[in-house]
Symmetry: C2
Subunit: 152 residues, 2 copies
């Protein structure tokens, strides 16, 4: 279970664009340098974000990118959706999937709940929250928990 780098880079690119001066757009090259990303790979990321209508060109093709909405109106879910069709941790959660466990799978509900958990989280955090670090509050707990993980 990993977050894809395209989604991760996408979030970072969006933050970078959001941080840009209000009077001008942000160039791909600027994002690449500030976020230490390959210019060529970032190309794909930007393309996806644009297709998802989260960003647009500031003025013509040579004036960088700006957000199409306010940072407070763009959630991580929106960004994620630019790269993945949706959140589906387990195939059997999608409607089309046909499972042959007739007597009812006891695990399905569990995964569905987790799916909801992640979905809610993605929907609840905006680009504005990220920039103001409103999600870093429990950083202490985080490192503590992860250390315990790694110790194993």
């Amino acid at each position: 279970m990993k977050i894809s780098t395209r989604t991760r880079y996408g979030v970072r690119a969006m933050i970078e664009i959001a941080r840009g001066e209000p009077d001008r757009g942000v160039f791909q090259k600027e994002i690449a340098i500030n976020q230490s990303l390959s210019l060529k790979y970032l190309d794909h990321i930007i393309h996806a974000l644009k297709t998802a209508r989260l960003i647009s060109n500031a003025k013509g093709k040579k004036s960088g990118y700006i957000l199409t909405r306010k940072p407070s109106e763009i959630t991580v879910f929106d960004i994620h959706r630019a790269f993945e069709p949706g959140i589906c941790l387990v195939d059997c959660l999608s409607g089309t999937y046909k499972c042959d466990l007739s007597h009812g799978c006891m695990a399905r509900g569990f995964w569905g709940e987790l799916n909801n958990l992640i979905l809610s989280y993605f929907r609840s955090v905006t680009l504005d929250d990220l920039m103001n670090r409103r999600v870093n509050l429990e950083d202490g707990l985080l490192s503590e928990d992860l250390k315990r993980e790694e110790a194993q």
Copy 2:
């Protein structure tokens, strides 16, 4: 972001073993049939579960498997850990990783929180909960949300 089939199968295998009669163990073949899994692939799953000391042979090698602990004392986290070293959605959350973003990455905390969220969830649900479907309560919400997902 997908849950690996080995973890999924592992959970289902554990449920199957937990459901076994108290006086005898459950055979691999039984699990394979009841859960529609390949006997050979299940072989690996069982092996991992055994290495993690979650299951053991009932009596000698030919009497199937039993749980080493009560279902209420085995969490999904325990099962997951039998297959993956831990939960780490993003490499930069691990201590050893060196990131070159000197000015502090604004996304890291966000992913860390999600990591914690999943970790807590895994730790909070036991095999006993799964068997008694205590996680299926919000099934309605689940399907509703997923349908909205798929509609996009």
